[in-house]
Symmetry: C2
Subunit: 324 residues, 2 copies
């Protein structure tokens, strides 16, 4: 038995997030491919239909805009005046910078000195102030505390924040609204913001659906945590899935623990194969992290007929450094 | 004055093609990008909105499915029994092979021995018979005649065929149906099947719209023909736009001559820049030929506010040999 009341996020929060995102976030399309379905069905020995929710088409190129915008929208006027801050070199940094820009408030983004210049430029392009730090977790957290002390800015954590989780949950909500009841929903797991939000929406709208996570073998803290029944932080991640390096959070872990039946782990070569399959068949650009759910479906497909929802998380990839 | 009756294709043919393609071809989405609009608007000095019709999401990955399917659908039962043939190593080959497969009739595809193995495999995957020949136009035409003599198959020309032109025209038809009246429509020009069909649909549905073609400098027969007022065949094409190497045809040329105001020619580096912009901003995969219209808009944008339709022709690109 799960007890919804014990979680940081309720489905009513997701519905509020959805209303706030209306007309602001893109309502991204869901795509299918006969040939991908065929390939997974052959391995499953049963007909499988996959609906890909294309968050690579979302603003800033990733689902992260949903959570970032929602968190900023929920600030009081007084909080908002002092701005927002976070530490991230990835999609959350851009998402928060754009959301702050849209509300006309300051954003302070702590980024490691090792972050690619193009990512820094994108954040600055939205008018955010970038504060550089050493590329260690300790330095990032310390620098972020310094920024908060100096500015009074509100910290929007990349995933361990109820408004962020509720925002990310709207992707699964839209997918189910568009395609009807599903038998299985699957999302990538990094810090667990997308996965935990996906759990809340799916459980509310398709109570019978299975919930799976997909994780790279080189950053498999969720798989190990689920097996152990307790939160085991990730140390020394090693994978091309640069969006999935982080550990589960205090808010995301209990939701995942109670709702997710299995975390399928996949190797980097399996991720690359799935990524190429999506590029080739759907003709869309996705980043490696985003290919983990299809890699998981190809590796351990459901053993009976299933309508499967897959959240394609983002499309921000360096076209000069493709992994094949 | 143009006299519609003199052309090989009327708008009523396009409407028939559209009815036959209903539920068979994908009704592909049209996408937009704020950032691409901004970039073109800055160069234009006027607000420009671009609607990209995504035929890279079409079956076989290109608009060619429309024309190939329509040509096969219009065969009499007796003709169909003997099958269809063509010479092509590109998207038309796959389109005709799939269309024949769907009708359950034979397809004979003459391909140069230099064609990539993956393209040959794709055609054979649809059950078509591939006949190899030397990689010269003379050998292709002779081999095709031999195949026709042996089998009695009906030749479906890649572009100089009324049913093919009417099929390709349905892409522009759908774009205008979805996005309403446009001020300018622009498509790539190779043999002119897509361009001439686009002219027929656009002239019928938005009589005031400008019609432009986009062509690589290294295969600029349409630009030179339009300037000279007579059909000048392409010799020795040299461009990365492998879908645009051919000369205009006897049927496509008069339609283009009478409807197209200008052919903008672009260099390969300009094509690559536009291709990357679409990959990066729209997160979709398009082939080089397909990027010529955006390259043309960036090079010589309309000088006043305009709603612009762009036909994105296809997405079949070798991921191991990207041009950057």
């Amino acid at each position: 038995m799960t007890h919804a009341a014990q979680y940081a996020v309720q489905f009513s929060d997701v519905q509020e997030a959805s209303a706030l995102l209306q007309g602001v976030a893109h309502r991204t399309p869901t795509l299918s491919s006969r040939l991908i379905d065929q390939q997974v069905s052959e391995r499953a020995g049963a007909p499988i239909s996959i609906y890909f929710k294309c968050e690579n088409f979302q603003r800033v190129g990733a689902f992260k805009f949903r959570g970032g915008y929602h968190a900023v929208a929920r600030l009081s006027e007084a909080q908002a005046q002092r701005g927002v801050c976070t530490h991230s070199s990835g999609n959350h940094a851009q998402a928060l910078a754009l959301a702050a820009h849209m509300r006309g408030i300051p954003a302070y983004i702590v980024m490691p000195s090792s972050a690619p210049a193009v990512k820094r430029a994108a954040v600055e392009g939205y008018g955010a102030e970038v504060i550089e730090c050493e590329p260690t977790l300790e330095a990032r957290e310390r620098t972020t505390r310094d920024v908060q002390a100096r500015t009074g800015a509100h910290l929007v954590h990349p995933y361990d924040d109820p408004h962020v989780i509720a925002g990310q949950a709207t992707a699964a909500l839209e997918l189910i609204e568009e395609r009807g009841p599903l038998d299985l929903m699957i999302a990538p797991v990094g810090g667990g913001g997308l996965m935990s939000g996906t759990c809340i929406s799916t459980r509310a709208l398709c109570p019978q659906a299975l919930l799976w996570g997909a994780e790279p073998e080189g950053a498999d803290d969720a798989a190990r945590s689920l097996q152990a029944g307790e939160l085991i932080p990730q140390t020394g991640p090693n994978t091309i899935c640069d969006g999935l390096l982080t550990s589960l959070g205090q808010l995301t872990w209990p939701i995942i623990r109670d709702h997710v039946q299995q975390i399928v782990t996949v190797t980097d070569p399996e991720v690359i194969e799935a990524m190429r399959l999506i590029w080739t068949r759907l003709k869309i650009i996705i980043e490696p992290s985003c290919a983990t759910p299809l890699a998981a479906l190809l590796k351990s497909p459901p053993a009976r007929p299933a309508r499967v929802g897959v959240i394609l998380s983002g499309g921000n990839v360096d076209l000069d450094r493709l992994p094949w």
